[in-house]
Symmetry: C2
Subunit: 344 residues, 2 copies
């Protein structure tokens, strides 16, 4: 609206880069494709020019080569039901389009190194879905420069607007969990976030605070704790909450695994759920329906998030325009048996 | 000892096959590599000759081509903590040797089709780990004929001795679970297997029967039930067991997920674990320590099974001789709080 349309950028080819770098076209191609037999100084110069000119690799139409029908899923850790749900969603979409899915766990190492990207590109990956606790600006730039399409799922921080990403309505989920407990009559509600610096933690805790505020209640600092999204973190934080002079009558546990830790903390002091303490989880992993009592939780559509990320990636690979670079799928409160009115 | 050594088989080359089939060597190569542009009758004839001569594809030394650094994990369903543990073990080993892992779920379809194998070979897979409920003789033959190395994990039936496979000591695990309940004083012990036709089910139930027999107790038919390895199967089978005129005082649930179903069935009739009914699971998935009460279970080293399968596959790919084609990793009883002496 009222904006001037930008003049189309002049098309930069490998020949342009080669001429300016004073190297051959095959050398530029080698750098672009991550081959190792290029002198470091030459590589650096070519990379600088590729970035300078904003070189765009021509899209290879899909299915011209069966070798290239690979998608990559790069995930921090595989060892949780949470990771599995995302993986399942991605795999289903890859299978629909007859592509093969390469799965890598980076185990919290900064594995998105140049060398790793080289191998990814040289084995013909069409693009990557990144489920990482950390994606450094440098790594993002490297991915963009290589023009390897990628989509971020549930990033530790909100990526810049130009990076395609998929998440869940964490703020809305935290709000709904807290509103549910307020509606049951709870006034003293504890919350256990995951790691404090994570985007999803901050959004869930912000939703908790907003719901309290809407009900005209203060958000006491002593009732806000942080964990690690695992059982042990939930246990430790709940032990501290329950040891307060005026303990909460309800705890929003921030994740289902942390909720199992809250269950243990309540059991340890001989109290019962939901009679003495109400508990709400987050995620709705499959075991949430099997805990005793079955866990009231905020369902995060992890499988759909994986599927949406994969479909978004395929759109980028296919050269289609994205309607939006940020998609948040809706969370929903699932009421089971771990919540009840506070003890009289 | 005393055997005569076999004469070495004459080496069969692509040229031999081409000559006999009256086609060119490239045509034979195309059939072998799964290309589609070969007439069906020619393909059939060449395949027949390849089988007849027991053609062995020369092993390509690893790492000559980065494109080829792919391993495949083919799994029936991804949607359980059980699958995740195996996947994690395989991924760790793949990562150690800088290979990429392609993960496919076959969703109970008979997806190991010729076409699927074609694509696997043409994108340069070095070998496959198969975690399937069913591997038909025909599929096995197809894999062997293509000389694509493969290893089977926890197959539905014991594969022929020449097929490399990895499993767990299911018989020993069933025996240990039952022995533990007997030692606590239980005399009327129910068992819930998974699907009856599965090898692991049969082995676990056989271990249960052997332990009862060793204690001089009969294995009553009414106490042996079968489920589906999921929560719902455990629930339904436990409901029937607990409704018996003389219900069991302990149930060996056959899997951790089935154990959660047994927990629910016990809760439904207002009884408590372990006071009224003792429960033992199988697998030791991560949630087993978080159930209320924490579940006594037989630990199956799923991650190690995945890792062992991957290392075995790498040995085959590397042309090394296997010490054994069948490896069973040990199960161990993990005592938690779901088992106690029977009510007086």
């Amino acid at each position: 609206m009222g904006g001037t349309s930008a003049a189309p950028a002049s098309r930069c080819t490998l020949a342009t880069i080669a001429r300016e770098a004073n190297v051959s076209v095959p050398t530029v191609s080698k750098v672009l494709n991550g081959h190792s037999d290029v002198a470091p100084t030459t590589r650096a110069q070519v990379e600088r020019l590729l970035t300078l000119h904003g070189y765009q690799r021509p899209r290879v139409p899909r299915r011209t080569s069966r070798r290239g029908d690979l998608l990559d899923l790069v995930i921090n850790e595989l060892d949780s039901a949470w990771a599995l749900e995302i993986l399942t969603g991605v795999e289903e979409v890859a299978e629909e389009v007859n592509m093969s899915l390469v799965v890598s766990a980076v185990h919290n190492r900064a594995s998105l190194t140049r060398r790793w990207l080289d191998s990814l590109i040289s084995r013909g990956s069409q693009g990557a879905i990144l489920v990482l606790s950390e994606l450094a600006e440098e790594q993002r730039a490297e991915l963009s420069r290589r023009t390897l399409p990628f989509v971020v799922v549930d990033g530790v921080s909100l990526p810049p607007p130009e990076v395609p990403s998929v998440g869940a309505t964490n703020f809305g989920g935290g709000y709904a969990a807290t509103e549910h407990l307020l509606a049951l009559g709870h006034r003293r509600i504890g919350v256990i976030g995951g790691p404090e610096q994570m985007l999803c933690t901050r959004a869930r805790v912000a939703g908790y605070r907003a719901a309290l505020e809407a009900a005209g209640l203060p958000a006491c600092r002593e009732l806000v704790r942080y964990g690690d999204f695992h059982h042990s973190g939930g246990l430790a934080a709940a032990q501290r909450l329950l040891a307060l002079p005026e303990p909460p009558t309800a705890i929003f546990a921030g994740s289902d695994q942390q909720a199992t830790g809250v269950y243990e903390a309540v059991r340890q002091i001989g109290r019962s759920i939901p009679h003495d303490v109400s508990v709400v989880g987050f995620d709705d992993l499959n075991f949430a329906q099997w805990t005793a009592p079955p866990l009231t939780t905020v369902r995060q559509p992890l499988r759909e998030m994986g599927g949406t990320a994969a479909r978004t990636l395929l759109r980028i690979i296919g050269g289609q325009r994205l309607d939006t670079h940020r998609i948040e799928l809706a969370t929903t409160l699932v009421r089971r048996e771990s919540t009840a009115p506070p003890p009289a």
